[in-house]
Assembly symmetry: C2
Homo-oligomer: 119 residues x 2
């Protein structure tokens, strides 16, 4: 029984649900978590796995997730450059909690599409 605390515009950062979930509720974050599930990956590996994300958007999403402490970014100053991204304990914790939701989405997907068609 979670209390939906404070929801005034000025206080959005004081509502944990808004402050935490809004930042991983964009179009790509959870997908990136899934891609990194089984270990660190390079920038272009992630990009290819996602298929249609642009470089600009991937870069800024990764930076945001790094700032929030969900993943680390390690640069190897070689030529050509190499950068790897890896989930932190916090990132793995959140992904672990999201996993049942993701699995439920996969299960319920067909049913939901059917409902939409009706309306």
């Amino acid at each position: 029984m979670v209390k939906v605390t404070v929801l005034d515009k000025k206080d959005a950062q004081n509502c944990p649900i808004r402050d935490v979930l809004d930042r991983v509720g964009d179009k790509w974050s959870i997908l990136i978590f899934c891609v990194l599930e089984d270990g660190a990956k390079r920038f272009n590996e992630i990009k290819r796995a996602l298929g249609d994300i642009t470089q600009r958007v991937l870069t800024s999403t990764l930076r945001k997730l790094e700032t929030e402490g969900y993943l680390t970014r390690e640069v190897f100053p070689t030529s050509p450059p190499k950068v790897i991204y890896e989930l932190t304990a916090r990132g793995r914790a959140l992904l672990g909690l999201m996993m049942p939701v993701i699995e439920w989405a996969e299960m319920t997907h067909a049913e939901i599409k059917a409902d939409r068609a009706q309306a």
Copy 2:
């Protein structure tokens, strides 16, 4: 180990994660789920609980959630009109799965804010 299926633009609806989660990943949906957690509520009750949402946005979000089968809308043709919204089994299922995530967000909130400050 969830497979991040198909991520081409045209096929976004074939990726359950995108197709299901994107639609409850907006600014208000999960919050509305929380408000309706302990039973049906009227339009303005929900509005007051959320504090700063506008009528237009609340209406359209509720309509979307209804179309997706997460809640029902029941109209009482009285004067003044009365409309109540209530979570469906599907809505309760999703909220149940999101609950651990929400609780984790509440727990981790302070820590995350601290990390942000560093960066």
